[in-house]
Symmetry: C2
Subunit: 135 residues, 2 copies
DNA sequence: TCCTAATATAAGTCAAAACTTATATTAGGA
DNA sequence: TCCTAATATAAGTTTTGACTTATATTAGGA
């Protein structure tokens, strides 16, 4: 997934809050909306409507930052490491030349970890992202 | 520098192009504008005016993503690792629990490297964080 | 089958923010 | 000192995109 789309998506603070929430664990869209409403209300900012959250989730989905899984009538969202990897990859462009050989090791670890993960968890490519039915 | 400001700033594609340019080495604002104009023109997109670039640079500056150094009447811009570190720190929130002990090592390396860098380069508050020569 | 819950999409509004032209500022040279 | 080059700031316009209300879609239960 392009780092472009990922950064575009993460450019919005509400979507970052959503990512942080999902970072704590998977949640159905409704729970995301509820938790978000709370968090925003706590900050004085007004709440947020269900469609708004749904739209934000769509952007995050298309950016490869979250995954969806249908569960009954619910849609359970979770963090997609793929999009995050794209962001990290973009950042590697700035890996400091001062850092020396340790950087290479570090990068290598990250790469290896990523591959191991993909290998261990087979069936999790695109998947449930399908907008259901018609379209 | 807050990851908030950094992500807000990186949410714009033109600013990401500017970061990529500066990643190749320091440049005065004018050179940034020129190189950007070329790159955008090559992509079919129209050019970009000097004030527009100046405004983008201001946003990046305030986000802690670039540094400036006056050189005669020029202002030489470069990547500020501090802002990038904030972004990386935010991403660490999603460090995959699947990853196991290697992650700890990896994180430790990153932390140590960061500290080493700050220790080695004393006078670098604001200003003058010149990364490597001109590259 | 009909109803309800959960979510997504449509359509339109409004505000933030990216761009433009014009002008101010500042350093260095003639 | 005056002029020019390099950049920043002002002010105004236009575009993008986040939000709202209304509605469609789909799954499951009565």
């Amino acid at each position: 997934m392009s780092a472009e789309a990922a950064f575009d998506a993460l450019g919005d603070p509400v979507r970052r809050r959503i990512m942080e929430l999902l970072g704590e664990g998977e949640r159905p869209a409704g729970a995301v909306a509820a938790a978000l409403g709370e968090r925003l209300a706590a900050q004085g900012r007004g709440g947020i409507s269900q469609p708004a959250v749904s739209q934000h989730l769509k952007v995050l989905r298309e950016a490869g930052l979250v995954t969806v899984r249908a569960e009954g009538t619910r849609r359970v969202y979770g963090v997609d490491e793929e999009g995050l990897a794209a962001v990290r990859a973009w950042l590697e462009r700035f890996a400091d030349a001062f850092a020396g050989p340790l950087d290479a090791l570090e990068t290598e670890l990250a790469r290896g970890r990523r591959e191991r993960r993909l290998a261990e968890r087979p069936g999790r490519g695109r998947e449930g992202t399908g907008r259901r039915g018609a379209a």
